[in-house]
C-alpha cells in the first residue's frame, strides 16, 4: 500500500512540481495551499507523512502552528519542514518533535527528499515495532545511539536531534577519533550546503548536548576542515 504524503505549500508551481515528483517516486500525494485547508483535512484523517512549508500565505508561522496541531493528533507522525528562510533553521531545530526534519528549498531539494522520506518511514516503523536490533546500537562512554529509532542518549538522557543532525552525529560517532571533513558530512546528511551551513548544524548539535551536559566537548573541530568525535 503506497504511503500517503500531505504537502502543504502555498506556491502553486512549487506545489504542483513537488507533488508530481513525489508521485513519480510512488507516493500518494495530497496537496494543500493553506493552513486551514490542511487542518480541516487532517481532522478528517491523518496521512503517513507531512511536508510543511513554514510560511503559508499571509501567515509567517503557519507551518509551526500546523505542526503543533499535528503533534496533538499523533505523537510520531513524521514531519518534514520546507524553508526558504535561513532564520527558520534555528527555530525549527529548537522544536522537539521526534521524527522530523527540515530542508531548504533549492535545486537539490528533490534530489534528497526521497532518501529522507524513506528514512523517516523506517524510523516510524522502528518506533512502532519496539524491536531492538543490537547491532544497530552504538555505545561509546556516555553516548548511546539507536539507529533504527533515531534515538540518541547522552548520560542516559535523550537528545532530540533532527534527521540531518542525527546523520551528521552518526557519521562522527561511527568512527570516534577520525576526522570527517565537510564533504563527508554533507554526504552523510544528504545535503549539499556551504561549509558554514555544516558548521551551523554542528553548532546546533553541540548546543543540544550542552543543554543536558554543560561540559560537553566531544565534538572537536579540526582546523575548521572537519570534525571528529572525541569523548
Amino acid at each position: 500500500m503506497p504511503y500517503r504524503i500531505a504537502l502543504v505549500e502555498d506556491d502553486p508551481q512549487l506545489q504542483a512540481n513537488y507533488a508530481r515528483a513525489l508521485e513519480r517516486e510512488g507516493y500518494r500525494v495530497r496537496a494543500y495551499t493553506s493552513r486551514q485547508e490542511a487542518m480541516a483535512a487532517f481532522a478528517a484523517g491523518l496521512p503517513d507523512l507531512v511536508i510543511l512549508d513554514i510560511m503559508l500565505g499571509p501567515e509567517m508561522t503557519g507551518g509551526f502552528e500546523l505542526c503543533t496541531y499535528l503533534r496533538s493528533l499523533s505523537p510520531i507522525i513524521p514531519i518534514i519542514f520546507l524553508t526558504a528562510r535561513d532564520s527558520d533553521l534555528d527555530r525549527v531545530s529548537g522544536l522537539r518533535l521526534g521524527a522530523w526534519d527540515y530542508l531548504t528549498k533549492d535545486t537539490t531539494t528533490l534530489d534528497f527528499l526521497p532518501a529522507r522520506i524513506t528514512a523517516l518511514f523506517r524510523t516510524v516503523e522502528a518506533l512502532r515495532s519496539g524491536h531492538h536490533h543490537q547491532d544497530r546500537v552504538i555505545e561509546h562512554g556516555c553516548l548511546r545511539i539507536d539507529e533504527d529509532r533515531k534515538e540518541v542518549l547522552w548520560q542516559g538522557r535523550p537528545v532530540s536531534l533532527t534527521l540531518t543532525e542525527f546523520w551528521i552525529l552518526l557519521c562522527l560517532a561511527r568512527r570516534p577519533g577520525h576526522v570527517r571533513n565537510h564533504d563527508q558530512l554533507m554526504e552523510a546528511a544528504s545535503v549539499i550546503v556551504t561549509n558554514n551551513a555544516i558548521a551551523a548544524h554542528i553548532r546546533r548539535i553541540r548546543d543540544k548536548f550542552r543543554e543536558i551536559d554543560p561540559g560537553f566537548d566531544a565534538i572537536r573541530s579540526e582546523y575548521g576542515m572537519g570534525y571528529r568525535w572525541q569523548p
Partner: protein, 723 residues
C-alpha cells in the same frame, strides 16, 4: 584638524579649576576693605590725639605764673643747666660707667664756653664734658676734664684757687653763694664755701662730697650736692692752672663767670607742677610731653605701653580652632601683614631734647601737626600730635601727645589674617566643591561615553541599549537621547535583516519551483534531443547560479548575527594554514603554484576556524584570480609583537591607492576580465567583518622587494596557548 583638537583637549576639571580662581577675588576684597578700615582708624586716632594735644594746650595756656615759675622763658642754652633724672645708682668712685646711659647726653664744654680771654686759649689745654643729674635727694655732677697739666693744691697753701679747681655758684632767694672744689691729690674731696667778703677764710662744706680721679687725659671729678642746698640758679666753672710755680689761673671754662658779673644760668628740670596738671587730665594710653622753646622736655606724663590687650584671646572652642589654624598659616600671613613689635622697650635714657618733625614748626610758626615715627628700627610705631603752647599770644613751648599705633596695626593685621584664612578656607571649600562637582560630572559623562561605546560591538553589532542614568538633568537627557538613538538603530538593523530574510524567501521559492519544473521536465521527457538536453542543463546551471548568489547575499548580510552565535576556540594557525592549503585550495585550484611558509613554533589564535578559513579562502580566491600566470601564490603565517600575521600575496597588477582604502567596503569590486563567476564585491567585506569579530584587522599593501603585486595581511591577536 583632529591633531589640533587633540592638542586643545582640556578636561572639564581643569576648566572648572580655572574658573574657581575667581574665588581669589575674595581675599583681594578683604585686603582692600582692610586698608580702608586701617586708614579710617588711623585718621580717627590722629584726630583724637590732636584733640588731646589741644586740650592739654588749652589747660596750660596763659598760666603765666606757672611758666614763670618753671622758667619757661629760659633762653640761654649755654648757661642753663638741664638736670636729668639719673637711672642708675651713682657711686662716687670717679668712674663714668654708672652714669650710662645719660652719659651720651653730656655736654661738651670748650671754646664756646670760654670765660677767660680768648686769645690765650688753646684747645688742648682745657676742655671738659659735664653731666648733672638728680638722684635721691642729691644733685650728682660729673666732670670729665681734659687738662694737659694737672696741678694740685699745695699743702703749704691755704688758698683754694692756686690749683686746678671747680667753682660752683648757687643762687636762691637768699642770694648768691659760691663754692670751690679742689684737691691736694687724687681721692676724696669736699666742697668749700667761699666767703662773701674778701679776707675771710673759706669754710668747708662737707655736704658737697665727691671724688677726684686722675686720668690719662686729665682728671674726673664726680661729686654730689644735696638738693636743698641748691637754689633756682646754678653755674659751674672749671679753672685751669698749668704752671706749678706761678699757680695762676690761665683758663676758665664754664657756664658763668661771676667776675664779669654775669648771671648764673637757670637750673632746669622737669616740672613736677606741670606734670601734676597733666596727670589730672587722665589720659591713660598716651604719653604727654611738654617742650619749651629750646625743645627741651619740661614735663612728661604717661607711657606708651598699653594697659590692656585689646585683642584678648577668647576661650571659646571656635576661637581656639581659629587660633590653631592661624598658627599653621603664620608663614603665609607674613606676606601680607606689616610686622611690628608689641614690645615697647623702655628708653632708659631720657632725652632732654625732643627732636620730632613738627616741633620746629609748632614753635616757630605755631602750626599744629601730626607725625609718625618709629621708636627704633623694628620697634613700635608712634603717632604724635604737636600743638604750640601759648602764653598771651606768645609761643612758649609745644605740647606733644603720643600714642602707639599698635592697636590699629594689630587690628589691621588681625583683619588680614582673618581674611586670608577665611579666603583660604573659602578657596579650599569652594574650589574643592567645584572640583568634586566637576569630577562627578566628568565621571558621569565618561560613564555615559563608556556605555555608549560598549553598546555597539567593534564589528558594528548593537549589543544592548542599556544606557542608564537616574539623574534628571542635561546629562540624563543626553543619555535618554542616546538610548532612543540606539533602539532606533537596533530596530532598523532588525528590519533590514528581516527584510533580507523575507526577500530570500520570496526569491528562493520561485527558484525552487523552476528547478523542480526542470527536474520534472527532464524526468518526463522521453529521449530528449541533445539540443533540448543542453537547454535543460543551461537552465539548471543558471538556476544554480542564482541560488548561489542568494546564498552569498544571505551569508553576507546575516554574517554578523551568525558570528555572534558561533563559538571560538584556541588553535594553532601555523598548522591550520598548510592543512587548508593541502586539503582544500591545492585541489580546487589545480593549475596554480602555491608556496606556504610557517614558523617552527606554535602560533595560537583564538577564533572560529571555519570562519578564519573562509576569510583566508576569499583572499586566496582573489590572489588566484589576479595572479600573473606562472608566478606562485604565496601564503605565509608568522608571529608579530603581540599579533599573528597571515599573508596572502600574488604577483600581478597592483591595486590603485585610491581603491586600496575602499576595497574592504561592500559592493566595491575589481575583477579581471574573463572571470565568469558571479561576484558582488562582498568577498573582502566578509573578510573584514570576520576579522572585526575576531578583534583583528585586514590590510592591503603593494608587494615589496622589487616585485609587482599585492599582499593582503590578516592581523589577529595572539592567544595564550592552553594545550
Amino acid at each position: 584638524m583632529n591633531y589640533y583638537l587633540n592638542l586643545m583637549r582640556v578636561s572639564l576639571r581643569f576648566k572648572l579649576a580655572l574658573v574657581s580662581l575667581f574665588l581669589l577675588l575674595f581675599p583681594l576684597l578683604g585686603i582692600r576693605l582692610n586698608s580702608i578700615l586701617k586708614q579710617s582708624l588711623l585718621t580717627s586716632q590722629q584726630d583724637t590725639l590732636a584733640l588731646t594735644a589741644q586740650a592739654v594746650s588749652a589747660a596750660l595756656a596763659n598760666r603765666s605764673d606757672l611758666f614763670a615759675r618753671e622758667r619757661f622763658h629760659a633762653l640761654d642754652q649755654a648757661r642753663d643747666l638741664y638736670i636729668f633724672h639719673l637711672s642708675n645708682t651713682i657711686r662716687l668712685d670717679g668712674r663714668t660707667g654708672d652714669w650710662q646711659p645719660e652719659l651720651a647726653q653730656a655736654e661738651e664744654f670748650g671754646r664756646e664756653h670760654l670765660l677767660s680771654p680768648r686769645n690765650r686759649y688753646h684747645p688742648d689745654t682745657l676742655s671738659f664734658r659735664h653731666l648733672s643729674g638728680r638722684q635721691g635727694g642729691h644733685l650728682y655732677s660729673l666732670f670729665e676734664v681734659r687738662d694737659d697739666r694737672v696741678v694740685y693744691r699745695s699743702r703749704k697753701s691755704l688758698r683754694l684757687d692756686r690749683s686746678d679747681h671747680l667753682r660752683i655758684i648757687i643762687e636762691d632767694e637768699g642770694g648768691r653763694r659760691s663754692y670751690i672744689i679742689t684737691a691736694h691729690a687724687p681721692g676724696w674731696v669736699n666742697g668749700f664755701r667761699m666767703p662773701d667778703e674778701p679776707g675771710l677764710f673759706p669754710v668747708p662744706e662737707p655736704r658737697i662730697q665727691g671724688v677726684w680721679r686722675q686720668t690719662g687725659q686729665g682728671y674726673i671729678l664726680e661729686f654730689r650736692i644735696p638738693l636743698d642746698l641748691l637754689g633756682s640758679r646754678l653755674a659751674f666753672t672749671i679753672a685751669d692752672v698749668d704752671d706749678p710755680k706761678t699757680r695762676l689761673v690761665t683758663t676758665l671754662i664754664g657756664t658763668a663767670n661771676l667776675a664779669q658779673d654775669r648771671e648764673p644760668g637757670w637750673l632746669l628740670t622737669t616740672s613736677t607742677a606741670i606734670e601734676e596738671i597733666l596727670r589730672s587730665l587722665d589720659r591713660p594710653y598716651a604719653r604727654i610731653r611738654i617742650v619749651d622753646r629750646n625743645q627741651r622736655i619740661r614735663a612728661q606724663v604717661g607711657g606708651l605701653r598699653e594697659a590692656r590687650d585689646p585683642l584678648a584671646s577668647s576661650q571659646e572652642l571656635s576661637a581656639r580652632i581659629m587660633t590653631r589654624i592661624h598658627d599653621l598659616l603664620r608663614p603665609l600671613f607674613r606676606f601680607f601683614t606689616t610686622s611690628f613689635s608689641a614690645d615697647i622697650v623702655d628708653q632708659t635714657s631720657q632725652p632732654t631734647e625732643l627732636d620730632l618733625q613738627g616741633i620746629g614748626e609748632a614753635l616757630a610758626e605755631g602750626r599744629s601737626s601730626i607725625t609718625r615715627y618709629l621708636l627704633a628700627k623694628g620697634q613700635v610705631e608712634v603717632m604724635a600730635a604737636i600743638t604750640p603752647l601759648y602764653e598771651k599770644k606768645k609761643i612758649v613751648g609745644a605740647v606733644v601727645v603720643e600714642q602707639t599705633t599698635n592697636s590699629i596695626l594689630a587690628l589691621s593685621n588681625r583683619l588680614i589674617e582673618e581674611t586670608v584664612s577665611l579666603s583660604l578656607l573659602a578657596f579650599l571649600l569652594g574650589g574643592g566643591g567645584l572640583l568634586l562637582f566637576a569630577s562627578r560630572i566628568s565621571a558621569r559623562i565618561r560613564r555615559l561615553r563608556d556605555q555608549a561605546a560598549a553598546a555597539i560591538s567593534p564589528d558594528g553589532h548593537i549589543r544592548s541599549a542599556s544606557i542608564g542614568t537616574r539623574a534628571r538633568d542635561e546629562i540624563g537627557d543626553l543619555a535618554g537621547t542616546l538610548r532612543s538613538m540606539l533602539s532606533q538603530l537596533e530596530q532598523q538593523v532588525e528590519h533590514r535583516e528581516r527584510m533580507a530574510d523575507n526577500l530570500e524567501h520570496e526569491m528562493r521559492t520561485p527558484l525552487a519551483a523552476v528547478s523542480a519544473s526542470l527536474n520534472n521536465l527532464e524526468q518526463e521527457l522521453e529521449e530528449p534531443s541533445p539540443r533540448i538536453r543542453n537547454y535543460l542543463d543551461w537552465a539548471r546551471n543558471d538556476v544554480r547560479r542564482l541560488e548561489g548568489l542568494l546564498t552569498s547575499i544571505r551569508e553576507a548580510t546575516s554574517l554578523r548575527e551568525a558570528l555572534q552565535q558561533e563559538s571560538m576556540e584556541i588553535f594553532d594557525l601555523g598548522r591550520a594554514l598548510p592543512m587548508w592549503l593541502q586539503h582544500g585550495w591545492q585541489q580546487t585550484f589545480t593549475g596554480v603554484e602555491f608556496r606556504c611558509t610557517v614558523p617552527d613554533g606554535p602560533l595560537p589564535v583564538k577564533g572560529d576556524p571555519v570562519r578564519l578559513r573562509q576569510a583566508t579562502e576569499k583572499l586566496v580566491e582573489n590572489a588566484v584570480s589576479f595572479h600573473r600566470p606562472g608566478t606562485p601564490v604565496e601564503l605565509e603565517v608568522r608571529s608579530g609583537r603581540r599579533q599573528v600575521l597571515l599573508q596572502v600575496s600574488n604577483q600581478g597588477n597592483t591595486i590603485p591607492p585610491a581603491l586600496q582604502a575602499r576595497i574592504f567596503d561592500s559592493m566595491v569590486s575589481l575583477r579581471p576580465a574573463g572571470d565568469d563567476r558571479p561576484h558582488l564585491g562582498l568577498g573582502l567585506y566578509i573578510v573584514r567583518t570576520i576579522l572585526d569579530h575576531h578583534g583583528g584587522t585586514v590590510t592591503v599593501a603593494d608587494l615589496d622587494k622589487g616585485r609587482q603585486g599585492v599582499v593582503f595581511t590578516l592581523h589577529l591577536p595572539r592567544a595564550v596557548w592552553r594545550p
